[in-house]
Structures are given as structure tokens and as C-alpha cells.
Symmetry: C2
Subunit: 214 residues, 2 copies
């Protein structure tokens, strides 16, 4: 498995996560089989892309009814999920931190937001959306105690650079940084900078380009 | 210009937006010149990548002091920004909507969040972070009145599919969808689905993979 999955491109991983969400919703509605072009249509991509992605993970379906929804969900689970639950901490429990917990929690069995950190005295020591919120001073201690492996940075941008050292020291393995400050981590830490401003500017650019073409 | 910029890949557009943000911060600190490897280091990428991106937009620098920060900012402005201000509407003024306005507003001269929509009676009719919030029933009317061209969807996921038609009818040109429901729009509309759950699952996957390699 390890050799196989090591070669899956990032974009395919993203799409597998998206397929799974749609498949789960199909399964809930009692749909047992789905054709590649139907799954493709739900995501605005081509059937060829869907088939290529599934071929890449070694999934094939020779049934005339399309893919077996339940079997495909299980197959994607085996690729994406770790055997044990992975715990996530949110750093910065402002609007963005709370939005993330609202959108995410309860959605995935194997991935769970278990704790949050802030410096605001109104938040520290309280429980927000079932998530206990601690002071950033306790970061290392709580991360160890709760076996957290992923940190989501939703703090104000100016605070973000000061979080790099605590994150490294706490032994965090994956970081998702939503602020506008690009952060660099040592190579052992998987880090994804995911700036909302960048994405808005990208959409605006392509709107401008399509305007100019007309 | 149009022929040149039409060929710029999406990832380069994202990086140009990120470079500009770092360059603006350098400029503020009084830094007048920057080497490609310094700019690269700020973003955790190689100097070759930076030089390739800038070559792609036709920017070259033969000075021994590196790139002229102010000139490069202006150059990127010309690529990314439209001549007129582009107006943005937020649909869903919950935690995520408010997080986006907080992170974004005031950051870009040519891109501005001007209005928000919700159905919550506590929000409709009020002004949140300087943004007037209207009922979703008034979407078409307000979009026309305020000349909005981009819609950001930060509503609950279950509401998202019902927003497609109003967005098309209102003549919106670009959509940034943060919910977990993938939305399809006609080809004239630039649409970006940007699901937080997907990104978290991707980071978790690569954490798992790097664990297995050890």
C-alpha cells in the first residue's frame, strides 16, 4: 500500500476526499451504484478524470451498474484515513477557528478537532462548541496530553510567525495555516499555507481575464 | 497583455498574489531591493521557481541589488488587478463570513467586500464590520445596485445548492464556494470550490504517509 499511495498526486488526494463526501451523501439517500460520469457531473469534472483517479488507487469496477458506492467509500477510507484517529488543535478561536470547528467536527470518523488555543481571557478556560479552549502558554503540555498531531492556525496574521517555534517544540506533524503570513517548517512537518486573500485574488484575476476575452 | 496573461498557470497566479503580499510588507519596512532567493525563502520555495514565475509575466531584473521592490509590486498590480475596483458580496454572515471580511477588507485597493447576505433576522438590516447585511431575497436587486461581480459562499453547506440560481440570475461573474457542497455553474462564471474539510483531510493524509515512511 505504502508504495502505491506514495505516488498519488496532491490533486487526486483532494478529489478523493471530495468524491467520498458525495458518495457518503449518495449512500445516505439509498443509492447503491454510481456511474463515473454521474460522480464526475457532481464535481464539474470529466468522467475520464474520475476513472483515472480511481485507477491510480487501484480501484476498478466491471459492473454494468457502475461503481458500488459502499465498496468505493471503504476503498477511499483505506487510502485516506489513518488506522487510528488523528487529533487536531485549533490555534485562534476567533470567527475563523469557530467556523472551522462548525464545518468540520463530526464529519470524519478518523479526524477530530479535540482542543483549541487562544490568548483571549474570555475564551481561555471555556468550552466552545464542545472544544475546550486553553491558553497558548499550555500548548506543548496539552498537545502531548491529548496526542494532537495536526495544528490549524486561525490566529490573526501578525501572531502567526510566533507560533512556529511552539508548534515545532510540541512535535506537531502537520500544519494548516490560514493566515496571510507564509510560514516555513522543517521538512519533517507537513505544512500547507492556505490564504483566503490569495484565493479571492485568484478568482478576481480569472473574472478579469474572462471579461477581457469578451 | 491579454495574450501574455492568458497563459499564466493558476499556481503562478496564486504565487504572484503571495509575492505581492510579502513585497508590500518589505516595502513598508523600507526595503528597496530583494534577491530572488530571499523572496523564495519567505515562501519556502526555490529561487528558480520565483525567477520562472517572474519570467512568465515578462519581468526581468539585471541589477546586482536584486529586484526593485516598488517596481515589482507595480508590475504584479498590472497583472493581477483590474482597472476598476471589483466588488464582492458575502453570502452567509456567520463565523466564516465574518472571518473572511476581517481577514480581507482593507487589504487590497482593487478588490472590496461591499455587502453581505443572510436570512437570520438578527443580522439582516444590520451593519457588521462596516458591511451592510441584506436578506437573501434582495440578492439580485442589491448586486445590481452595488455592481457586485464576485460572490463568496460561506453559508451552511445544506443551503449552498439553493444559491446557484440566484447567483446566475444576478449576473455574478466569479464564485468562491467554501461549503462542502460542490456547485456547478455555467461556463461563463468562474467558480472555485474551496472546502476546508478537503484541505484538512489532505494534510492528514500526508502526515499519515510521512509517518509510514519512517
Amino acid at each position: 500500500m505504502a508504495t502505491l499511495t506514495n505516488n498519488i498526486p496532491e490533486k487526486t488526494i483532494e478529489r478523493l476526499s471530495e468524491y467520498r463526501r458525495s458518495l457518503l451523501s449518495c449512500h445516505k439517500q439509498g443509492i447503491t451504484h454510481i456511474f463515473s460520469h454521474v460522480l464526475a457531473g457532481m464535481h464539474g469534472i470529466t468522467a475520464v478524470q474520475v476513472r483515472r483517479d480511481l485507477m491510480l488507487i487501484g480501484f476498478s469496477s466491471d459492473t454494468k451498474k457502475g461503481y458500488d458506492v459502499k465498496v468505493l467509500i471503504e476503498f477511499i477510507n483505506n487510502i485516506l484515513d489513518s488506522e487510528d484517529v488523528m487529533n487536531i488543535a485549533i490555534i485562534g478561536m476567533g470567527h475563523l477557528g469557530q467556523a472551522i470547528t462548525n464545518y468540520f467536527n463530526g464529519k470524519r470518523r478518523k479526524l477530530r478537532i479535540v482542543t483549541a488555543f487562544d490568548v483571549d481571557p474570555e475564551k481561555v478556560g471555556s468550552i466552545i462548541d464542545d472544544i475546550p479552549c486553553y491558553h497558548m502558554d499550555q500548548f506543548e503540555e496539552i498537545v502531548a496530553q491529548m496526542d494532537v498531531s495536526i495544528a490549524v492556525i486561525s490566529s490573526p496574521t501578525r501572531v502567526a510567525p510566533s507560533l512556529v517555534l511552539p508548534i515545532i517544540n510540541a512535535g506537531i506533524k502537520g500544519v494548516l495555516n490560514f493566515t496571510s503570513a507564509p510560514l516555513n517548517f522543517p521538512s519533517g512537518i507537513v505544512a500547507e499555507n492556505y490564504d483566503i486573500t490569495t484565493i479571492l485574488e485568484k478568482v478576481a484575476y480569472f473574472v478579469k481575464e474572462s471579461d477581457e476575452k469578451m
